[in-house]
Symmetry: C2
Subunit: 212 residues, 2 copies
Amino acid sequence: MKYQKIPEATIRRLSRYSRCLEEMEEKGEKVVSSAQLANKCIVNAAQVRKDLAYFGEFGIRGVGYYVRDLLNNIKKILGSNKEWRMALIGVGNLGSSLLAYKDFLKQNYTIVAAFDIDPPKVIGRVSEKLGKPVEVFHINRIKEVTKERKIEIGLIATPPSEAQSVANLLVEAEVRGILNFAPAQITVPEGFVVKDVFFTIILDNLAYLLSN
Amino acid sequence: MKYQKIPEATIRRLSRYSRCLEEMEEKGEKVVSSAQLANKCIVNAAQVRKDLAYFGEFGIRGVGYYVRDLLNNIKKILGSNKEWRMALIGVGNLGSSLLAYKDFLKQNYTIVAAFDIDPPKVIGRVSEKLGKPVEVFHINRIKEVTKERKIEIGLIATPPSEAQSVANLLVEAEVRGILNFAPAQITVPEGFVVKDVFFTIILDNLAYLLSN
DNA sequence: GGATGTGAAGTCGTTCACAGCT
DNA sequence: AGCTGTGAACGACTTCACATCC
C-alpha cells in the first residue's frame, strides 16, 4: 500500500483495539474478525480494516486476525510496547492527585521524578505505585535530572500561568513529549509534541449536549 | 442561516474561545476580531466565524465582536452559564483524587454527593472546594439522593468492571450526563450522553507521535 | 476601509462494495 | 464460503474568497 497521512482518529482507535484485544487474550480467544472487533469497539468493520491497512497486512483472508499477533503489532505501532519514563511538574493539588492515582498509568508508563518550585513543602508525598516514593526536586534541576533519568515525557500540572514557562524548560531539556493538564494554550517548537487534557472542555461539551 | 448539523469539534472550540474571552475580559479588552481570537486559539479565522455562524450573528461588520457579549452568548450556547450539579461514583484512588482536586472544576460545576459500595471506609474524605465536605453515600441510595440533590451529571471513577453497572444505575436514576473515567466501553440508551476520559488513549497517542 | 457572514472549493476521514486470497 | 484489503463513493469538516454591511 502506498503511503498516506494517518489520521489522529486512527491512532486513538488503535489504542482502543489494543485494550479490547488484551481482554480477548485474557479470555483465551485466539482469532478475531474485523467485524467482531468493530462490534466490541463500536466502530465500522471497514474502519477497523482500513485503520490496520495504514500499517501493513496483519490478517488472513477468510479467517481473521490472530489476537496475540495483532495485539503485538498494534503495540509496536503505537510505541506502547516500550517503557515510557515521565516527569511530573507541579506537585500541587492536581499533581499530587496524579502521583497518588496509581491506576492513572498502565504498566508501561511510569513517573520517575517530580518537580516543584517549593520541593520541601511536598517532600513527603509519594507515588504508591510499586510502593516506591517519587523524589521531588526543585524545578531548577529539571535539565540535569531529566537527562540522568532518561525522561521522555513531561506532565504539566502547574497553575496555568506557569504552564508555558515550564514547557520552555522541558523543551530546553529535550523532553519531546508533553501532557498538559493546565488549562492554558502552550506552544512548542517543531519536533516536540503537546497533548492537552482539559476537563473543562469535556464538561462544557457534556453541558452542551445536555442542554441541546 | 438555515439549519446544519453542528460538528463536535465546533463545540470543543467554543469552549476554548470561551476561556480566551474570559482572559481578554479580565485584561479589560472590549472588542476582538475573528483573526485575533483565532490567533490566540491557534485556529483559522474563517473557522472562528463559521463556528459562531452556526448559532447566530454575534459580530459587527467592519468592527469585530464585543468581548463580553460574545462570551455571554457562547456560555449560553454551551450551557455553561448555569450551575451543574454532579455526583461522583467510586471514591477509591481516582475518585478521591477528583474530590481533592478542586481546580478540576470551574465555578459552575460542583460535586454535591459521592457514592461507594463501602462508604464507611471513605467517610473522612472531603472536597476542599469552598471548604465543604462531600457526603459519601452507599451506592444503593443513588436514586434517592440524585433526585433529592437534583444531580444532572455522574462521574464514574470505579474499576472498569463496575463501570457499566454504575452507568445502568445512573440511567435508572435519570442522570442524563455521564463522564466516564473508567477505561471501559459503556453504553446508554438514547437521550443519555457519555463522554470518556481515557488517559491511556492520550498517552498512547503521545507515545505514537514520539516514536514516529 | 475593514471585518463579518457565507456559498463554493478543497481537504480529510468514513463507509461501501467487491476483487482477491486462504 | 468467508473474511481481508482497497479503490471509489460518500459525507463531514475546514479553508478560501468575496459579497455584504457597519
